[in-house]
């Protein structure tokens, strides 16, 4: 009997040795004459267990991990024999960390072969598109709107409204643009889904195309993600061959095709208008809005521009209905959020769950605290532009509005955990430094404010006229927040001000208590 095993080809798994493990399996099986089939999948997202190997059994897939090449001979013995092994984790779907999740968008990630349309279909893929092809544009728009889906890139704008605006615009051509410039540290969900289930992104974009009347789409992927670029390109070729991209999609009269474009290391290109400039072949300089990209987007044409995860949520909504999606979540945050647990965390990875779970549950229970074993001191939520939260705010539910009410943001769902060795003054300075390096330079608050911010925080760290310089930083932050053209300059104050507010003791000198307007709102 041929043993069928699954090993991730996800960059996160490869970075900790998944390729070496796959090679060791091939060699050991060949040497013994054991018939073995290795399927390279995406990652399940349980990164502390990578490289993880799963074996197909009558009870379902059984996982082993983390595996090193040295474990392979004994694992092969176990797989061919009793199945018992010290690294056996049990039936994968029963692993509590996975079982506790609600995987709507990531249902297939780590399960299927990301190069195979057939495997995608066998796991429910392309049912959303099939249904969409039987509906009118208005009916699809109604579904997307009713689902409550909001842009998963960070801004949280209702996807249905964006699509409707483009659908109603008239133009000689329209575009669908997928923002895969996932530059926020602590986020990797876009990368995972592109590597592990690229067809769900393609299907979502195709549905967007037929809804608004666009025949061409671009996926703008950052150059730091070569594995994702390769996976998306391979999937596009496979989808064309299967007749679900190109002319006469699924036998219908609709036409839609896709092209991958690769970024060139500019963080600001994750901002949608800067991304459009970059796609057009120019410097990634932010555009003033209006006009909105929905009216005048790529090459001046009406364009839907959404994050990878927003497109990836669409097939589920079309297949299972808007209500099935909207039934999850809280308040105005409907559905699920693929949350990414990162940094100094014991159980790091991808945790998709309904909105409403608290920050404390995510960090302490699910994440297991730090891997250094020290106390969690600060948690940055939402990338380099997100606020640092202290333990006192761990009761904040994961919800767009709840985070905003506490001067933070959920952004793209990344959570970076820091232990008590962190120097928050240094983190605040880094936020300003990063903004200074990555600023596109168009607006003054961002371009100049960030540089002055670095200088002034340095003075504070050096103990120079601390109170006066703190007032300067606050003033700079206000100017950046309210005067910048986009979120880079506009949100850099979040990490800076939250560090000042919640971790004041790190800024040297005897600062006394924070002034009233800076005191935590809780």
């Amino acid at each position: 009997m041929t043993l069928r095993i699954f090993i991730a080809r996800d960059a996160g798994a490869v970075a900790v040795g998944a390729d070496d493990v796959a090679l060791a399996f091939e060699q050991a099986a060949a040497a013994r004459g054991t018939p073995l089939e290795i399927v390279r999948t995406g990652s399940r997202g349980l990164y502390w267990l990578e490289p993880m190997v799963e074996l197909a059994t009558a009870q379902g897939r059984v996982a082993f991990g983390p595996i090193s090449p040295a474990d392979v001979p004994s694992l092969l013995d176990a797989m061919a024999g009793s199945g018992q092994h010290a690294l056996r984790l049990g039936v994968t779907d029963e692993i509590p960390w996975l079982k506790r999740q609600t995987r709507l968008t990531f249902a297939r990630c780590g399960v299927i072969d990301p190069r195979s349309v057939d495997d995608y279909r066998a796991h429910g893929g392309y049912k959303g598109l099939e249904r969409a092809l039987t509906l009118t544009s208005d009916q699809i728009l109604a579904d997307v709107t009713t689902s409550g889906l909001r842009g998963r890139g960070g801004a949280g704008f209702p996807t249905g409204i964006k699509w409707k605006t483009v659908a109603q615009a008239s133009a000689d051509r329209k575009y669908i643009v997928c923002n895969a410039d996932e530059g926020d540290s602590g986020t990797f969900a876009d990368r995972m889904i592109m590597e592990g289930d690229p067809f769900v992104v393609i299907e979502g974009m195709t549905i967007a195309g037929i809804t608004v009347g666009a025949t061409k789409g671009y996926i703008y992927i950052r150059s730091e993600y070569p594995h994702a670029v390769e996976a998306m390109n391979a999937a596009i070729v496979a989808a064309r061959r299967a007749g679900v991209l190109g002319k006469r999609i699924g036998g219908s009269a609709h036409e839609f095709d896709l092209e991958v474009r690769v970024g060139a290391g500019a963080y600001v290109c994750g901002e949608e208008t800067s991304l459009l400039e970059s796609l057009e072949g120019r410097r990634g300089i932010v555009r003033a809005k209006p006009p909105l990209p929905a009216h005048k987007g790529l090459f001046g044409r009406p364009s839907v521009i959404n994050n990878v995860l927003s497109f990836a949520a669409i097939p589920f909504i079309l297949d299972n209905g808007a209500k099935a999606y909207a039934d999850f979540g809280m308040g105005r945050s409907r559905g699920t959020m693929p949350i990414q647990l990162a940094g100094n965390i014991k159980y790091g990875g991808l945790f998709e769950t309904a909105f409403g779970v608290t920050l404390g549950e995510l960090v302490d229970e699910i994440g297991g605290g730090t891997f250094t074993g020290r106390e969690v001191r600060a948690v940055q939520v939402g990338g380099p532009l997100g606020a640092y939260f202290p333990r006192a705010l761990f009761d904040t539910p994961f919800d767009y509005e709840a985070f905003a009410a506490r001067d933070g943001l959920i952004g793209h769902g990344g959570i970076v955990v820091f232990d008590d060795s962190v120097d928050m003054a240094k983190q605040a300075r880094f936020a300003m430094e990063f903004c200074a390096v990555e600023s596109c330079g168009k607006c003054t608050p961002c371009r100049i404010g960030s540089t002055r911010g670095v200088e002034t925080i340095n003075k504070i760290i050096n103990g120079e006229r601390v109170a006066e310089n703190l007032a300067v930083v606050e003033d700079l932050c206000n100017t950046m927040k309210f005067g910048s053209l986009c979120a880079l300059g506009g949100f850099t104050p979040y990490p800076v001000m939250s560090a000042l507010k919640h971790f004041r003791e790190d800024f040297g000198g005897d600062l006394g208590p924070a002034p009233a307007h800076l005191q935590a709102a809780e």
Partner: protein
Amino acid sequence: MSVGYEAWDKARGAEIIAEHAGLEGATLVMLHALQEAFGYVPEPAIPMVAEALNLSRAEVHGVFTFYHDFRKQPAGRHVLKLCRAEACQAAGGDRLAARAEARLGVALGNTTADDRVTLEPIYCLGLCATAPSAMLDGRVVGRLDEARIDALVAEAQR
């Protein structure tokens, strides 16, 4: 001069540019393709891209200098990129970066005197759950510790 790259040749450059001339907004695509072939974007290629796209030389130069990825000159034989973003900072990345700098005798952003290794910062490889992470000539490595960073540096120096 990095191994595996072609030496600059105007006819070859023109051929690469022509391959992509039919695409919408092709500037970045052409610059990427040139760098992939030659290891950097040779200065004489800039006006050639401009001409192919009916842009001014200044516009293409502006694009070339805006993006961190494009190189004015060849990198060292090996390129070691260390992630310096927050998730890797939280996992001890600062200390490891300092260690790599000390071992190689160059600061981040520089190439060793023998042209063997270019050490660069990178802001997020998306390997934040297996931090700290790095990339050596396109190969990703996670869960770095002192032993692993030393091994990577040694490999890059070979």
